[in-house]
Subunit: 105 residues, 2 copies
Amino acid sequence: MAEFKHLVIVKFKEGVVVEEMVKGMEKLVSEIDAVKSFEWGQDVEGQEMLRQGFTHVFVMTFSKKEDYATFAAHPSHLEFSGPFSAAIEKIVVLDFPSVIVKPPA
Amino acid sequence: MAEFKHLVIVKFKEGVVVEEMVKGMEKLVSEIDAVKSFEWGQDVEGQEMLRQGFTHVFVMTFSKKEDYATFAAHPSHLEFSGPFSAAIEKIVVLDFPSVIVKPPA
């Protein structure tokens, strides 16, 4: 069965301490068993025409779509949504079953 | 050492046969050893305010940043860029060392 992924890309507002946001997310995923894995990154190539102002990526992986629903409805997630929303200038969120074509070696 | 990821999110133009684009990408990554793994997905939640018109995600994983550079400069990649660029209405690309906080179980 395909894993389900919750992908978030953002541009934070000026002055936001990104480390604190990331710590908040780390705490969040550690509290919610439904999250199978969590990774994030900051763009380092800086090709502005391609990154369109976005700088950070956050990816949560779930064993199945139902686990994502559990996460989305979890009180800790709802609580975190407030400060996170306040910190971002723009965002794109995509939720999708992951199709792996070339598997990790 | 952190894996390096090449993340592409797109909205395809009307009338584009997405399956053909995906097949082209599958062929591409199968031809280029530097690509460690490849996965993709199509958003199924359809929360337009959050997905901002974007519908598809493509993620390539590399063992190190140098492998990404090899991929980016590969003739097959350059050749594929033409038809791919012609097929998309909008795109965001982010390239980043992946930080894994909660590892896969």
